[in-house]
Amino acid sequence: MVFDLNTIWFMLIGVLLTGYAILDGFDLGVGALHLFTKQDVERRLFINAIGPVWDGNEVWLVTGGGALFAAFPEVYATAFSGFYMAMILLLFALIFRAVAIEFRSKQPMHWWRQMWDVSFSVSSIVSSLLIGVALGNIALGIPLAGDHEFAGSFFGLLNPYALIVGITTVALFMMHGAIYLVMKTEGDLHNNLRRWVNNAIIFFIICYAATTAATLLYVPHMVETIKQAPWLFVLPLLNALAIANIPREIHRGHDLRAFLSSCAAIVALLTLFGIGMYPDLIFSSPNPANSLTIYNAASSAKTLEIMLIIAAMGVPLVLAYTTSIYWIFRGKVKLDSSSY
């Protein structure tokens, strides 16, 4: 590994995606869990728990997309045009999610609320699933031609491995979202949610085991780096510890710590993913020579440098006001006149 501009940008895009998974991850998870409660008040609490922050969380995806476009335009162009129908579907899901949150509580009619509850939940699940499927395909490898263009088909993208990664992503976000809700609620709902967390953890562990097994069996290049540097096994170990710590903290009533453990698990997972991919950005299969790497897909050194300056100025600002917003809206969620 050479610590050059391209590598730095590989890591920065990784940071943006991790930020996205940690932050939007919990509100996507809340969406995936939304229909599991039937009561209107509880559904409102769910939505208002993420109300002030979901929009800022999604900006991580927008900025990540922009950074990918700027730093690795070939990846952006190949993936977005190659996954055309999947991307359009993701867009529709994101549109419906945004308006469902905004529209749901604006009218009292039962059918109206039910309609937006279903769109909020389905679009959250579809978004998470598609993001996971995309990551699965990038890791497994997609057919790329010599000119970097995608040479496969839409249905080829729906292969078993990618689908397993997709479902694991949904499970991860459901677990993450359930813990977030435990943190934000009180009373009976809070106690019920504590049980949900356990179920969500079990669901996630099953999916995670399946993904790991499938990766070891069918995607050996993803574990190549770790095999060569065994000290990296510390990451899956950390990941396992972080996940194991969640029920422990929930049991003791340390909700915030449980949530931070879940964040740590996400960081460990995505770091593993990044290590497996490096220096590839999209793995080409069956022709690995056509893979898009951090070198053949990158912008000029000048642009990467300028963007590094922009990031150095912007990221501290972003972290500062993200932190203050979360601080201002800390504590249990309560419904009032300005709620959704």
Binding site: P52, G56, G65
Partner: protein
């Protein structure tokens, strides 16, 4: 239909629908700063009630802007991937800067704006309003810079051999301050201020006509009218400056704006119909030499005509001509409405003339139409280039996407956007019918 036409239709459809919302949030954002600022200064509960009502409306508009905005970022990659490979080095950094400097600011502090009334003090809330307004303005800067670079590329060089040629940055500041960016940012801002101001004007005039929320409506109208009058006049100035820039940097576009075929002294049409086959304007009324005069200050000075360009390098003339002229005409009407309003306010007759209030109610359509038409003329006027003189639109398409796929997505986008438009109008109408909340007036009184 071929892939090129379909991809352009989809881009036009999605950007046109998206562009209903950002100008409203930029303009309304500015008005919110004035409203809340007035409340903090005067402690008049009316301004508190006003801010709270318009913040709610702002939230709805903002949500639609976010939902439709993410489509735009994705679409460069999905439908225009060859273009993305060509411009990524240049265009991408502007887009990333937009995310990091504008969107985080806007969405973060919007949370306080909408839900933070009881969580922070009045000053922090006001600061959040200012930051949301600033974020909305920043978000326009970067995307307009990127678009201006497509109109008047600068600060780059071309690297590689066709078909793998691409533009790379040489000088970042030249790119940012390319010849058209400043003029066009101002033009976009003024269009946005007009959109926000005439929107508030329209809703408030409606209340007065219905004899509801009178104090609220009168105070809102006064703020809106001041912004509308200022922005409308400044829009004329920025429009003029923009046009002079177009004449200098994009002569084919300028010639198409006025259907000016033969190089020589150029006329300014008030209206007309372009017959592109015969290369002349029919049924037109024109001011002879006026275009030359506006550009150069000399009615005899020659302006480059369309005949200097090969037919395949010319934009479609009539649509550019019509949209440009309609935009200018609407702009002039808006100046008239706003200044007439100011005059009658001064004469103390503003709220008694029902016909004028009805004009205000319908004036909301003006800036929306003008904004759409302006972009139509600017973007169609750039054709056949996607990056002026560097890359043809037909060479920017995605190579692996089929016309069948794009047709499918167009149909789906159309259905979804139609649904969103209906819901937006329904919910907006619902908010307007409910009107400002009396309890907001009381809480503010209580606090004061």
């Amino acid at each position: 239909m071929d892939l090129l036409t379909l991809s352009r239709i989809q881009f036009g459809l999605t950007i046109g629908f998206h562009y209903i919302f950002p100008p409203l949030s930029i303009g309304l954002g500015l008005l919110l700063v004035f409203m809340e600022g007035l409340y903090l200064k005067t402690k008049n509960p009316l301004y508190h009630q006003m801010t709270r009502f318009w913040v709610k409306v702002f939230g709805l508009i903002f949500a639609l802007g976010v939902a439709t905005g993410i489509v735009m970022e994705f679409q460069f990659g999905t439908n225009w991937s060859t273009y993305s490979r060509f411009v990524g080095d240049v265009f991408g950094s502007a887009l990333a800067a937009e995310g990091i400097f504008a969107f985080f600011l806007e969405s973060g502090f919007l949370a306080i704006l909408l839900f933070g009334w009881d969580k922070v003090g009045p000053r922090v809330h006001f600061l959040s309003t200012i930051l949301v307004c600033a974020g909305a303005h920043f978000s326009a800067i970067w995307i307009v810079i990127a678009n201006s670079w497509q109109q008047t590329p600068a600060g780059h060089h071309l690297v590689g051999q066709a078909p793998n040629i691409r533009a790379e940055i040489v000088d970042f500041w030249q790119l940012v301050f390319n010849p058209s960016s400043i003029d066009r940012i101002w033009h976009v801002y003024m269009g946005a201020w007009q959109a926000g101001a005439f929107f508030v004007l329209s809703v408030s005039a409606f209340y007065i006509l219905r004899n509801k929320h009178i104090d609220f409506a009168k105070a809102s109208i006064k703020i809106a009218l001041l912004v509308a009058a200022t922005a409308s006049v400044l829009q004329l100035v920025s429009g003029h400056s923009s046009a002079v820039g177009v004449a200098e940097n994009q002569p084919a576009k300028m010639a198409a704006y006025e259907a000016h075929y033969n190089t020589g002294p150029a006329d300014l049409y008030l209206f007309g119909w372009v017959n592109d086959d015969q290369e002349r304007v029919q049924f037109g009324v024109k001011l002879p030499g006026m275009l030359s005069f506006l550009i150069y200050g000399d009615s005899q000075k020659p302006v480059t005509g369309l005949k200097e360009f090969k037919p395949e390098d010319r934009p479609p003339v009539n649509i550019v001509f019509q949209s440009y002229h309609a935009m200018v005409a609407i702009g002039c009407v808006l100046i008239l409405i706003a200044w007439l309003g100011l005059f009658l306010w001064w004469r103390n007759r503003l709220f008694s003339l029902r016909w004028l209030l009805w004009v205000f109610v319908f004036s909301v359509i003006g800036p929306q139409l003008a904004n759409q038409l302006g972009w139509l003329s600017a973007e169609v006027g750039r054709q056949p280039w996607i990056v002026y003189n560097l890359l043809r639109t037909s060479d920017g398409l995605s190579k692996v996407v089929t016309s069948g796929q794009v047709l499918t997505s167009i149909i789906l986008f159309s259905l979804i956007y139609l649904l969103l438009l209906i819901l937006f109008i329904y919910l907006l109408n619902d908010k307007i019918q409910h009107g400002p909340a009396t309890e907001d007036l009381n809480t503010a009184r209580h606090r004061a």
